[in-house]
Amino acid sequence: MKNLTFAAGLLTASAALADTPVLTVYAPDYFASEWGPGPSIEAAFEASCDCDLQFKTGDVLGRIILEGTRTDADAVIGLNTDITKKARETGLFAPHGQDVAKLTLPLDWTDEVFLPFNYSHTAFIYNTESLPNAPQSFDELLAADDSLSLVIQDPRSSISGLALVLWVKSVYGDRAESVWEQLAPKILTVTKGWSESYGLFTDGEADMVLSYTTSPAYHIVAEGDLTKKAAIFPEGHYFMVELAAKIAGTDNPELADAFLAFILTDTFQNLIPTGNWSLPAALPVPEWPEAFQELPLPEKVLFYSEDEAADLRAETIEEWRRALSK
């Protein structure tokens, strides 16, 4: 009898589950893991939507391209501007339909398909104790003694590595290749992804690591460690923005719209700084957590449109490869 009640309970529960609409959102692994902002965003959204938000992790754009129109995704989150041209060309994404006037980005955003949810800039991070006289400009970095050691990410396997070659290109233009030749002796090594580089840096293996202007915030907020700083260069820093989008063929268009609208709410935006260690895309500075308000940020922000980035990609990677292979 007890078993029967239990079985009946299970049946009702699963019937209830079946009635709850499921919103499937593809997200990068770092976003949806319990150490990313995913779980708290999921809880906050489910509190308002009477639905079940499920993040599916992995290589977001890669999977969408493989699946084409048959994808189960209703929306995606965590795309990056430097690859949105490829994403747009698939024709799989629908306009987000949100009012972008609420955005607080350092530059104008008019894209109708891809909606920013947070941003940061490429930067070299250093430890003020082991490197008291860090270079204060890109030119100073180039002129620095070759004993200064950098770890960077490979532009062929990492989105931040790609942002770095675009950064160098946007600062130095045609001189980019000779700049890379000047940097080459300082580059201790190149890693596949950001995690490996950052691990080497925190282990004290290198003086500076290619990361984001927001990285010091993690050390300040989570560890109370004030020694990690981003070197801010007057030449400008490359803009890195993360985006969300709605899948055109979704079975749940209303829910997907609701999710995109939710992204611009204060609830979502307040979860971003200490969840994704990034700057909220639609929240005025006074509402940021204190540590983020006090972060040194660049005055000048450099950015290539997706068309420019796509055109420059092969060329800049090849310049980088040639210079570093010598």
């Binding site: 992790t57 493989l66 048959r70 062929r156 950052y198 260690w277 292979s325």
Partner: protein, 505 residues
């Protein structure tokens, strides 16, 4: 041995599991294939580092295996097990361990600076070779050590009573065994190093150290260029299968002769020989175990504070490892032939990225890949361990067949009787070793789960990456210690069961 039909079915299933995904990626491909100077440079570097890594690993493994085979000392079993540890570590963890010793601020350079010498740089071809030897020396040593164990004790005793000198003993008794094992040990390590990517890049110091695997990753992740990815996958496959084929051809046939299966006596040995052996073993321990010890010291304190999700991931990884081990052994036993070994090389011959993407394309029309991610990971892990399991099992299986099949035929033993009374008792040790290796390898493999895994079903290696990806380097170090302990524990357990009651214990 297993009936021919079972062998053919197992072999065909295996080949299909590798060829089908590759074809699926190929079918998805557009017409244009890119194979420019960057790809040629990657091909050259890949071949160079793989050949050098494999050669160094097997050459260094010979004196080490010899020393381990002849020495008897307290803690020998534990030493042999610990010497196997680097092979089963996840790449990223092992690299951080190596850097703790050989890095800019590692122990070695601290020592050199203290003595007034210039520090050495690990970054470059030397670093790639160092890491590949670190990973693969244990494997080569264990393979050759098994060969030493399989030398019939009658031959060793005969050598002793004939008063053979060290040279003559090596040439007449040991060399034929080494000749049989060396080519395939070389081939397996060569094939492993062919698909090296993160190690080669991180320790290679930059794009000079680009491998084909990185070119595949680039083609998939950034360019969505399936044609180039599939072509590069095919190049990898061709190189691997060629290497394995040449190795099988070179290995020739076993001329060791038959013995009575009795343990070799520990002979009195000159002091000089004992000192050399002790030196070799100590050197290997310093090189192989010290980096792990440093990792352990760094992360152990954080293990109790790891949250429940990490522990659940650990349980999931354990279950996955046990499943993969069972599946791997089921395939390994019928495939323990020369052809089987060649086919099994396919398991590590194709880039995991190509394999994972191809499987994704194949299962996608029928089921949601997320729902079968763990199952697919289990199959791929079993597949990737199969070449190692076979490398361990095949010589033993064939030796048993060669040496006992006449006798068994004369006694009229059936297939089951043969397996139960002749084969199995003699395979205990290699089976235990193969199972331990498979379990530990699947434990530490990031695998295809990273391609289409669900965050809620993450395995322990994936958790380590997630922790690192969200700045939690200390917790990642602690999770790595947990992974190391679990992998070694599994390996030790299976190896122990294999040795327990094995005849020469």
């Amino acid at each position: 041995m297993a009936p021919r039909a079972v062998q053919i079915i197992a072999g065909a299933a295996l080949a299909a599991f590798v060829i089908a995904p590759l074809s699926a990626v190929w079918a998805k491909a557009g017409p244009a294939v890119r194979f420019g100077p960057a790809e040629w440079a990657a091909l050259r570097f890949t071949l160079l580092q793989a050949a050098l890594s494999a050669a160094l690993s097997v050459l260094l493994a010979i004196p080490l295996a010899r020393a381990l085979a002849r020495s008897r000392f307290w803690g020998r079993d534990v030493t042999i097990m610990l010497l196997g540890a680097p092979f089963i570590l996840p790449v990223i963890v092992a690299v951080l361990g190596l850097i703790a010793i050989f890095g800019q601020n590692g122990l070695l350079n601290d020592g050199l600076r203290a003595l007034g010498f210039e520090p050495l740089s690990i970054y470059g071809l030397q670093g790639v070779l160092l890491a590949h030897v670190f990973f693969n020396l244990p494997l080569a040593t264990r393979m050759i050590l098994l060969g030493w164990m399989s030398l019939p004790s009658e031959r060793i005793r005969l050598g002793q009573s004939l008063g053979l000198g060290a040279m003559a003993r090596f040439y007449l008794i040991e060399w034929p065994m080494i000749r049989r094992i060396l080519p395939s040990a070389f081939a397996v390590i060569f094939v492993i190093c062919l698909s090296s990517f993160a190690v080669a890049l991180t320790l290679g110091g930059g794009p000079k150290a680009t491998t084909i695997e990185l070119a595949i990753y680039q083609a998939f992740r950034f360019e969505f260029d399936f044609a180039t990815a599939a072509l590069l996958g095919l190049v990898q496959l061709f190189l691997s299968v060629s290497a394995a084929g040449v190795a099988l051809w070179l290995a020739g046939h076993d001329r060791l002769g038959i013995g009575l299966d009795r343990p070799a006596p520990a002979a009195r040995r000159p002091l000089s020989e004992r000192c050399i052996d002790a030196g070799v073993i100590l050197g290997a321990m310093l090189f192989l175990i010290l980096p792990l010890a440093l990792l352990f010291i760094k992360g152990a304190a954080g293990v109790p504070d790891l949250g429940a999700p990490v522990w659940f991931a650990a349980l999931r990884s354990l279950a996955l490892a046990l499943g993969a081990t069972l599946l791997c052994l089921c395939f390994a036993l019928p495939l323990a032939t020369r052809w089987g070994e060649l086919i099994a090389t396919l398991g590590i011959a194709v880039s995991p990225l190509v394999l994972g993407t191809g499987l994704f394309l194949i299962v996608r029309p029928y089921v949601n890949p997320f729902d079968v991610a763990l199952g697919v990971t289990l199959c791929v892990n079993a597949l990737m361990s199969l070449p190692f399991a076979l490398r361990i099992l095949r010589p033993e299986v064939q030796a048993v067949e060669q040496n006992f099949s006449h006798l068994s035929a004369a006694l009229g033993l059936g297939a089951w009787g043969w397996f139960r009374w002749v084969m199995l008792p003699r395979l205990r040790r290699p089976l235990g070793f193969a199972a331990g290796l498979t379990a530990a390898l699947s434990m530490g493999d990031l695998g295809v789960i990273a391609l289409f895994g669900d965050a809620e079903w993450a395995t322990l290696p994936l958790k380590i990456y997630q922790l690192m990806g969200s700045y939690r380097m200390d917790q990642a170090a602690a999770a790595a210690v947990l992974l190391l302990a679990l992998s070694l524990g599994l390996f030790w357990l299976f190896d122990r069961v294999g040795r327990y009651g094995a005849q020469d214990q």
